[in-house]
Subunit: 406 residues, 2 copies
């Protein structure tokens, strides 16, 4: 008799029909004798509507009141899910985040889970009930309602799985699992049976947005093995877990393409101490998230100068360009070039650590396709290159073929 | 510096525009230096939508889960109201029923308030904030979310006013106050400046549905003086309070007409012990609420028989007729007659106690209008008669003219 935590997102509970589908799935597991905790998000659209309503009243509503407001979305969904289980004759009971013992800090709209005291959940499970917990929310030690921010329901599920020492944590979503590449772009993309936390983290941060990084980080920290799988079918999904020996045999786990980045290049920046610091402090002060940074070796002899490039999220490009313009005289660069037409292509795999020549093979593959590499950035288990956006999908297919096609 | 509890119903917070209006009114009182607790209902329509959603999933959803579901309606409204006050620069904070310390029993969907520990409310008021409390909801000592049933938000306001020892409790609604009669029917109807709890209770139960009886009963029990007034203008409303000497000078406080009753008559029922008991026990078992009961004196000599009439809410008539048909042979009455076309006309006033001839004057007034009286029932402060529905409004105007026109 396993203890399973299942998490269903907003699209899985979007209407009464889909809520009934979720209930059927839960009932099937229940019939096998498993003990089940279900975490649900707000019905899709509900949260956006509430935000719209609040902003009609005040453009920048208080975060404390936004938490009070948004927490109702999940509370509605858990009650309806419990009712759908009752309709199938399954004993079920819903709990708000607070009732489930999820205690957070007081940073409204992006609270962090401090601890979970699942006394109530245990008691209800012991009484033979399916327990439905509101995702995305918690309560401060003082009793204030908080929400966990983006990806919060995944986090609730993984944190509950950790606190309950669950045998299994299933994250139900609208895809079958984690793929070697986006199947809409790469026809040969395969679903992965397993992936390590670190690989998942790199893929999450690289635009393969199955889950938010923070949930994966949390799972890694507390060693929660979880499965990403589809709520639309019964196919097994992808198991996300600690790296194993066998994983290292696979050099590359996946290929991802991020089309949402833009590049800024400062041409001929004086190569002297403090210049880069000044630039990236100004960007940080403007709350602009910088991803890749590449600085070439210095050229010229009298007064050495260098080219400095970085990438930002496309929506931040204008703001970033403005910040750099403001610094231009101060810093003394010759020219600032912005480029929105870039793609960031990455390959990820823990096996990379023990296999040499991976980067060379990637660059060679791109060269054969006639694709020029603009920037390169590497980590222990990842190589990213910036290329022409128009050639992004072609590059992705080529690299997938070189490393992953069977 | 007065402490005021204000309650706003669902139509007063139906949309962002109206929520802003509520906030303006609260801000005005706040600017006078008053300490304010605001109780709000769910935005009108929201509760019905949630019920519809639940019933789509299961026709008879669990009451515990309905409470979890419906409590979100008020929670949404308090957050938006707090945001609207912030938009006006007023420091405000919202609290769920649980957070406000409203403790109820565990009878879901119609819980009774057991006690209120408004520690949190006091602390926030002391910190200079307007406190917005979700109406209609509370929490059991075990932390289960409950709702108070119909009229629950009025009850929240009055109970909070009692617990906080508020100087004033204002119930904002869409009418200007309590009238001597329905102004749509009686052109000469006047708004009352004050009314006693008992008169208000009789009027509430007689179809002048400004407030549910249970809130008035609660106010009476705890001596909470409250004002019923309009959220659409600044007119003073009607003060509801304990009966005073001066109130007794007014013989009749108001006239009401209940069009929602139906009459059942059992013709020639054997006049022997236990018959009436059997009939009304059967109706009670079928959860049918009987209002007036009239039994005439026995007639005939050999085997004495009597006519027995009673009234029920119109929607219960069919069910009541069925119950009586089932008893007919057993009880042995000659005939059962149902009549939907009746109206119950009532006059209410504490002054009645010390004034004789009130009933005579009422009957005389109706006789002059050629209106026949079908049933009569009286209490200490009320006289009700059943008349032909078609003549109900004519009768109401005539009685109002006789007792109340100036």
């Amino acid at each position: 008799m396993a203890l399973i935590v299942q998490k269903y997102g907003g699209t899985s509970v979007a209407n009464p029909e889909r809520i009934r589908n979720v209930a059927s799935r839960v009932a099937k597991y229940r019939a096998q004798g498993d003990r089940i905790v279900v975490v649900v998000s707000a019905m899709s659209g509900v949260t956006d509507n509430l935000i719209k309503l609040a902003k009609e009243i005040m453009p920048l509503p208080s975060e404390r009141e936004m938490d009070m407001l948004l927490a109702t979305g999940e509370q509605t969904a858990i009650a309806l899910t419990a009712i759908a289980l009752h309709a199938l004759g399954v004993d079920a009971v819903s709990l708000t985040g607070a009732q489930a013992g999820i205690v957070t800090d007081g940073v409204h709209t992006k609270a962090k889970i401090q601890n979970i005291t699942p006394k109530q959940v245990h008691a209800l499970l012991d009484a033979g009930k399916v327990v439905i917990v509101a995702g995305f929310q918690g309560q401060t030690p003082e009793g204030q309602i908080t929400t966990l921010g983006r990806g919060g329901s995944d986090l609730t599920a993984i944190a509950l799985a950790a606190a309950l020492r669950a045998d299994l944590c299933q994250i139900y979503t609208d895809v079958d699992g984690v793929y070697t590449a986006d199947p809409r772009i790469v026809p040969g993309a395969r679903k992965l049976n397993e992936i390590s936390y670190d690989e998942m983290l790199e893929l999450a941060s690289l635009g393969a947005k199955v889950m938010q990084s923070r949930s994966v980080e949390f799972a890694k920290k507390f060693g929660v093995v979880f499965e990403v799988r589809s709520s639309l079918n019964d196919n097994p999904g992808t198991i996300v877990k600690e790296e194993t020996q066998s994983m290292e045999g696979v050099v590359i786990r996946g290929v991802s393409l991020d089309k949402n980045q833009a590049k800024v290049t400062l041409v001929s920046v004086p190569d002297k101490p403090g210049v880069a610091a000044r630039i990236f402090k100004a960007l940080g002060d403007a709350a602009i998230n910088v991803d890749m940074i590449v600085q070439n070796v210095s050229h010229g002899s009298g007064s050495p100068a260098t080219d400095l490039s970085f990438t930002v999220d496309k929506p931040d490009l204008l703001k970033a360009a403005k910040v750099i313009e403001g610094l231009r005289n101060d810093v003394g660069c010759r020219e600032v070039i912005s480029d929105e037409k870039i793609g960031k292509l990455s390959i990820v795999g823990v096996g990379m650590r023990s296999h040499s020549g991976v980067a060379a093979k990637m660059f060679d593959t791109l060269a054969k396709e006639g694709i020029n590499i603009g920037m390169i950035s590497t980590s222990e288990i990842k190589i990213s290159v910036v290329i022409d956006l128009a050639k992004g999908e072609q590059a992705m297919r080529a690299v997938h073929a070189a490393f992953l096609d069977k």
